[in-house]
């Protein structure tokens, strides 16, 4: 059995994290992990919904140390969590209150220094096109290797460096950058998740330099438009959706620092980076090769179990291996960094009792804030009824705005819905 450390790159007296302005040292962290590990039931899998990043980090590390994997649902909706619990024996929902109770009460169970590298650390679920979430399993070995590659690729300063993130730890980018990277590389994470630009500014200012801001196009745009003065950062890191070059240039001016992007997916994790203002080409990580395929592209990633992973984007690859993104498969949409399949959303809409027909439409010229519209045939339901039922099964980012109830959808003779007919219908409805 090959093993890897649970915590690497940190020395005995080092700080692991900043928790509400307090430095958390390695011994304190290990003590807290031991308490949470002591409270976890045998045979459980952990549905980690913690809002507090430190609570998430503790439950994740404690689970890993006990061999209990973490499950991350595609969203937090009641129905999604209920489905996950129904399908996984021993599913244990972990939230901030659960972790706090464990810290107060549990008998500590100190974590081992080394753990099985092949241990299943986490399964992330994404909404597939079939109406059922698809599962992406990550071994500790793969997460560890991915974090090491990110550490080496990005221009982190030598010595201590403090990260602040606006992203939650419950998706792949957030997990890799704000949980795994601090665990295995000695970088320190601020356990907060600032939301408004003024919060980001205050949290950054409270961290000692050198600092790095980890964020998304949505938050970066909000920060740039807020017109604030920003504390010095080494660089800004953005992911979850490609950053428009104009926004990247404004952000570099506002932060007086490079803005770097990570390209990746739930399937592959981070696999390439670019500095947006240097041009559209992405440079793959060492050991990663991107190749176009007949219907898209795939990534060969040396540190993953399944060497060839299909990508959701169309690419053009240069002779030196760098690549540019040409757009994505028409079924996939991205709103504020959250991905969904239109086919899956349509199935969920059509599954509502009283909905006779329905379709989601993404308008043309969308940016990262553009919402979906929906056309729905449902004579017996009100807009509120439909939205209420959708809210139970969808992340709020995908709720249609606006939702139009219509007499019939513009289906053609083959029963299909040509995109232009849908756009025309929306255009007519919007003018009334």
């Amino acid at each position: 059995m090959s093993t890897l450390p649970l915590i690497a790159g940190a020395r005995e007296r080092d700080i692991i994290a900043w928790h509400e302005g307090l430095a958390l040292t390695l011994p304190q962290f290990q003590d807290d992990v031991a308490r949470v590990a002591g409270a976890l039931p045998d045979g459980a899998c952990l549905i980690n919904l913690c809002e507090n990043r430190y609570a998430f980090l503790l439950a994740f590390a404690a689970g890993l140390s006990r061999g209990l994997q973490t499950l991350l649902p595609p969203n937090r909706s009641e129905q999604t969590v209920a489905d996950l619990l129904a399908e996984h024996a021993g599913g244990q929902v972990i939230d901030d209150a659960w972790v706090n109770a464990a810290l107060a009460d549990a008998a500590p169970l100190p974590p081992p220094q080394l753990i099985d590298a092949d241990r299943l650390a986490v399964t992330l679920f994404t909404s597939g096109s079939t109406g059922r979430p698809s599962a992406h399993r990550k071994r500790w070995r793969a997460l560890f290797a991915g974090a090491e590659l990110t550490r080496r690729r990005l221009p982190f300063p030598d010595g201590p460096c403090n990260l602040l993130a606006t992203v939650p730890p419950q998706h792949m980018f957030g997990l890799e950058t704000t949980i795994v990277l601090p665990l295995v590389s000695g970088l320190r994470i601020d356990t907060g998740r600032p939301f408004f630009p003024a919060d980001v500014q205050a949290r950054l200012a409270a961290l000692p330099p050198p600092r790095v801001l980890v964020t998304t196009p949505l938050h970066l745009r909000a920060c740039v438009e807020a017109g604030l003065r920003w504390p010095a950062v080494e660089f800004v890191l953005s992911a979850t959706a490609p950053l428009p070059v104009e926004l990247a240039a404004k952000a570099e001016a506002a932060f007086a620092a490079p803005v770097l992007e990570i390209y990746g997916s739930t399937e592959t994790g981070a696999i390439a980076t670019r500095r947006t203002t240097n041009g559209p080409l992405w440079t793959p990580y060492p050991g990663v090769r991107i190749t176009p395929t007949e219907d898209g592209a795939c990534a060969e990633v040396a540190h993953l179990d399944d060497l060839r992973q299909p990508l959701n984007d169309l690419v053009e690859v240069e002779a030196d291996g760098r690549f540019r993104l040409l757009g994505r498969s028409a079924d996939l949409i991205n709103i504020a960094g959250k991905r969904a399949s239109l086919a899956d959303l349509n199935l969920k809409l059509q599954a509502i009792e009283g909905v006779l027909d329905g379709v989601f439409v993404m308008p043309d010229h969308a940016d990262e804030r553009t919402r979906l519209c929906a056309l729905v045939v449902a004579p017996s339901l009100s807009n509120q009824d439909i939205l209420e039922r959708l809210r139970r099964v969808l992340d709020p980012a995908f709720l249609p705005r606006p939702l139009y109830r219509v007499e019939a959808l513009p289906r053609n003779a083959a029963g299909k819905l040509p995109r232009q007919a849908l756009l025309d219908m929306l255009h007519t409805l919007g003018r009334d």
Partner: protein
């Protein structure tokens, strides 16, 4: 529903205009109903947009760190009261 106070009318219009809520009439927003989730159905993307519009219109930055964010956005009334307390213009 209770009647909207003058500032609430103004904030209701700001919300509808900023977020392009095509199917919402500002005067119809219940000042005591939740803005997020079940009520008006706003989410965190809207909160960021709204924060920017509020900073431009009323001259202060919203913060979630030092106050209860859920409380500020709990209703049109709560948001309007928060604006009244913090506005500089």
């Amino acid at each position: 529903m209770t009647a909207q106070l003058p500032l609430e009318q103004e904030v209701a219009r700001l919300i509808v205009d900023t977020l392009n809520l095509e199917d919402v009439v500002p005067e119809d927003i219940d000042p005591e109903a939740p803005l997020f989730g079940e009520g008006l159905g706003l989410d965190s993307i809207d909160a960021l947009e709204l924060a920017l519009a509020i900073s431009r219109t009323y001259g202060f930055q919203l913060r979630a760190d030092d106050a209860n964010n859920a409380q500020i956005f709990s209703s049109l009334r709560a948001l309007s009261q928060h604006i009244e307390r913090h506005r500089t213009q």
